[in-house]
């Protein structure tokens, strides 16, 4: 495609977007009519979405996409995306929804709309199941492992009381090894890393004690699709109430949905 063609298609897309915002029918109506919903899912971010044994994407987000499809009673067409192109896919109407471990921030909120949170994503302090730790002060006199330079390491350095010892390791693998070998019983890390440890070593699974930085995942869609937004929120609320969401979380993140979601 040459520059002129790109420029032409871009201006056409812009014109179409401007036009359709006013005149077009709601995306939810289109989906119900076509009996298919297109959902962008991650392809390179386990356990949210990665290539399965048959190269089809599998993960938390794919299960979530299928759940929404089932509730709507339509077929799901998953579209693998990466974190750079997931919002453009939505804006250019290649998909109706983005379920791609998408976090909320101000810039994104300017261009797309977000549902309620459907998946936990946070950095926190994790320990053995029966360790009594609920807040940073409880770390007094204890040893915490973390990966040097990571957000959680910098935050826990500020939060932990002076009597706590922080062991800083070179990378996530060393932090994981220090926890698995019993060199430390408490680690500050992301819930995805904790889930990976729990998967490999169920006997020594790290359990979330408190959250350092919370940035849960939301379903993204175009602005102005209020009916679709309401419907997605309704499905998430129902899945939360009947335990479907918890099942997905236990399956992929080895932990129940936290109360904050």
């Amino acid at each position: 495609m040459n520059i002129r063609k790109i420029a032409l298609s871009l201006s056409l897309a812009a014109a179409a977007a401007a036009f359709s915002a006013g005149a077009r029918a709601d995306a939810l109506d289109d989906v119900m009519k076509a009996k298919v919903i297109r959902i962008a899912v991650p392809q390179d971010f386990a356990p949210f979405g990665s290539a399965g044994p048959d190269l089809k994407p599998v993960g938390y987000d794919i299960d979530m996409a299928n759940l929404i499809g089932k509730e709507l009673g339509v077929k799901v067409e998953v579209v693998p995306v990466n974190s750079a192109n997931r919002i453009p896919y939505l804006q250019t109407k290649k998909v109706e929804l983005v379920i791609s471990s998408l976090g909320k921030n101000e810039e994104r909120e300017k261009v797309i709309a977000f549902s309620n949170a459907y998946a936990p994503f946070f950095q926190g302090v994790f320990g053995l199941k029966d360790a009594k730790i609920a807040k940073p002060e409880d770390l007094a006199g204890k040893t915490v492992g973390a990966t040097r330079g990571s957000i959680e390491e910098q935050e826990i350095t500020k939060l932990a009381p002076p009597t706590a010892t922080i062991k800083r390791y070179e990378d996530n693998n060393a932090t994981i090894a220090s926890f698995l070998s019993g060199q430390v019983d408490i680690i500050a890390t992301g819930n995805i890393v904790a889930a990976a440890i729990a998967e490999k070593s169920p006997g020594r699974a790290p359990v979330s004690k408190f959250v350092i930085k919370d940035s849960p995942c939301f379903v993204g869609m175009n602005k102005g699709e209020d009916k679709l937004l309401a419907k997605v929120n309704e499905i998430i609320a129902k899945a939360k109430a009947d335990g479907e969401l918890n099942k997905i979380s236990e399956k992929w993140l080895k932990a129940p949905i936290p109360a904050s979601i």
Binding site: G145, R148, G149, E153, Q154, K167, R168, Y169, E170, A174, A177, S178, S181, G182, Q183
Partner: protein, 220 residues
């Protein structure tokens, strides 16, 4: 390309770097003394000791001299807990350093022992010296004299190699440099300072080792 050097960003962390420097000095000093003692004992076992002791030492030396230091360190820190032996990172760092220097110095000292002429030992025998006296006054003294430069180099190598212990969160000079770098992102300045400190340490260590050598083995 414009790049402004800014060493003043390191100032708030001077105590971190100083603590790391002290740890590296203590780590090197202790492992030098204990490691060379271990090496001497091993060299004795392989030359004058019983056959079984020689065989054990031979195995130990082969294993340590033919595996990377970092693997030995990870095995002791991450591996041994699986066998029920949990050492904290400081103990693991000291232990690995001693074991490593012990194996290398054993071979260096053994070379020195081999270079002692048999006639000198026989002379000790004919003077009715005990086996220990012969080893201490005739063999070891000459052996150390001969291999002292090689042994000094090995100690410097081990000191520089000690930077690896930062990988198991032992808080040495390299750990301090990595830590400061993760806070102020002044990689160039931090590692220039760390490199200069290591250089300074190596020069001072050589100076001290030469002094010790002059005192212990005076010429003539």
């Amino acid at each position: 390309m414009k790049f402004a050097l800014n060493f003043s960003d390191l100032l708030p962390y001077w105590n971190v770097i100083l603590a790391g420097l002290i740890f590296t000095i203590v780590l090197t000093a202790v492992s030098t003394v204990v490691g060379v003692a271990l090496g001497t004992a091993c060299a004795w076992a392989r030359t004058f000791g019983p056959t079984w002791a020689g065989a054990i030492v031979r195995g130990y030396v082969e294993v340590i001299r033919n595996t990377p230091f970092i693997v030995q360190l990870f095995f002791i820190f991450f591996g041994l807990p699986a066998l029920g032996l949990k050492l904290d990172e400081t103990t693991a760092a000291f232990l690995t350093m001693v074991i490593n220097l012990g194996a290398y110095s054993a071979e260096i000292i053994r070379a020195g022992i081999k270079a002692v002429p048999a006639g000198h030992i026989e002379a000790g025998d004919s003077l009715a010296m005990t086996r220990f006296e012969i080893f201490r006054h005739i063999v070891l003294k000459q052996a150390f004299q001969k291999v002292y430069p090689a042994l000094s180099s090995q100690i410097i190598i081990v000191m520089l190699g000690s930077s690896v212990v930062s990988q198991i969160s032992a808080e040495d000079l390299t750990y301090a440099a990595n830590f400061v770098q993760s806070r102020n992102f002044r990689a160039f300045e931090v590692y220039v300072v760390a490199a200069l400190l290591y250089l300074l340490l190596a020069i001072v260590a050589r100076f001290i080792l030469r002094g010790v050598g002059r005192l212990a083995f005076p010429k003539g």
